[in-house]
Amino acid sequence: MNPLLRVEDLHKRYGKEKVIRGVSFSLERGETKVVIGPSGTGKSTLLRCINQLTIPDKGRVWLEDVEITHARTNINHVRAQIGFVFQNFNLFTHLTALGNVRIGPIKVKGMKKDEATKLAMEELARVGLADKADAFPAELSGGQQQRVSIARALAMTPKLILFDEPTSALDPELIGEVLQVMIKLAQEGMTMLVVSHEMGFARSVADEIIFMEKGVIVEQCSPKLMFTCPSQPRTAEFLHKITELYGETEK
């Protein structure tokens, strides 16, 4: 069987800047992979190239046996199967939490409103926000907004969820609630590709960590291996800086 997601020789440049220079990897069903690396190395661009929010210059992406990058592929149909969680949440400002979660099933899948409402309430409960269903995004904290946006992704029953630095815009004390939801999802078998610097999260749930720098994958291995004996000196250096920054002491 094909892997759930396969990325092959992806390239993307903005003007002269080559942001991604030949990235290939794959993701099996139920796997969680975490992408780390210094800022400006194309991690977010990589995620956006997968669901074509950014169109790559070269390379191919498959979701199961559908080639997403093929010109004939209905991209909306593919996107409906891939959840995307943004760094800045991007909740729909004019809709309540409930409205945000059910709009996808209603508008994209043609689900009936009461059915979609029931589903949306379940997803909100899953991220612990059933009591905030009627609140507007502006009335929620950053952590709550991000959990709603995860519920919004879940309501589409996606095959895969892409997380683009989901906790980077949050106050430190709000990061935990979002990570808890993500850990739960990973344990429930959701397939996830996460760009994040949360080493604790990577260590506890990632099947593999991908270390990217300057548009290429430098190293890709299990968290245990990466934290104990990275094969590339550059990986060790980056991990050292990150642990220094976040004061990570556990081994």
């Binding site: 943004f86 909740l91 996808g104």
Partner: protein, 239 residues
């Protein structure tokens, strides 16, 4: 000073025509302006250019010239429209250009993240714009749009030049007949003012009703302190 009560029914008749012309032209403006704004923001290159040319033409030429082209000019190429149709059409085409510009600003103010999020759920562009961006843009544009509505009510006074007896036209007729320019036009001015004040209240109500947390103007005096709200005039303009 002389004042005659029998002016009032005549002026009310004129006012009705003024309101009718304003209503029709603003309706044309909403539909056409929305299309123009969407075309200018989301269209392909040629469509953006086309909408841009339209908007610049109608904003760059005097309204009176536009009215004259439609009423006096078009018949020479075989298109003869009634005075009312000409007026409503010319004013509608004009306000569409302004409304399109206000709405364009509002669409751009909504932010690309909203559109990206809608697309990432799997909505086609058209649906994403319609169900996610527009509902927000309409709330943002409402104050500017209210202003435009009031401007059109007042600018419609130029239609007296194409034989219509709107409030202005009727006033001019009465004034000339009785040679009472000051008195009649003061009453005409009061009529305009009354309608504008009523409209302002209604539009403020609409703004309050459609306001959502995080969208539209959040800060406002508590209702009990507000007998009436003064007209907002962010930078008046002429045509």
């Amino acid at each position: 000073m002389t004042f005659r009560w029998d002016w009032l029914p005549k002026l009310a008749e004129g006012l009705l025509l003024t309101v009718e012309i304003t209503a029709v032209c603003v309706a044309i403006g909403i539909v056409l302006g929305t299309l123009l704004a969407a075309g200018r923001v989301y269209g392909r290159r040629w469509l953006r250019l086309l909408c841009g040319v339209y908007i610049e033409f109608f904003r760059g030429t005097p309204l009176l010239v536009q009215v004259f082209i439609v009423y006096f000019g078009l018949p020479s190429i075989g298109v003869t429209l009634s005075a009312f149709t000409s007026a409503a059409l010319a004013l509608g085409l004009n306000t569409a250009a302004y409304q399109a510009e206000y709405l364009r600003g509002a669409l751009q103010a909504v932010g690309s993240g909203q559109l990206q999020a809608a697309r990432s759920v799997g909505m086609p562009l058209r649906q994403a714009v319609w169900s996610v961006v527009f509902p927000q843009a309409f709330r943002i544009v409402l104050p500017a749009w209210s202003n435009e509505l009031i401007q059109m009510l007042k600018y419609s006074s130029i239609v007296f030049t194409i034989t219509l007896y709107d409030l202005m036209g009727m006033g001019k007729k009465l004034a000339a007949k009785h040679f009472t320019y000051l008195e009649v036009f003061l009453v005409v001015a009061l009529f305009y003012l009354a309608v504008v004040l009523i409209l302002t209240q209604l539009l403020n109500l609409l703004e309050r009703r459609t306001r959502l947390p995080g969208l539209g103007s959040d800060v406002e005096a508590p209702a009990k302190y507000r007998l009436w709200t003064p007209l907002r005039r962010p930078g008046g303009r002429g045509r």
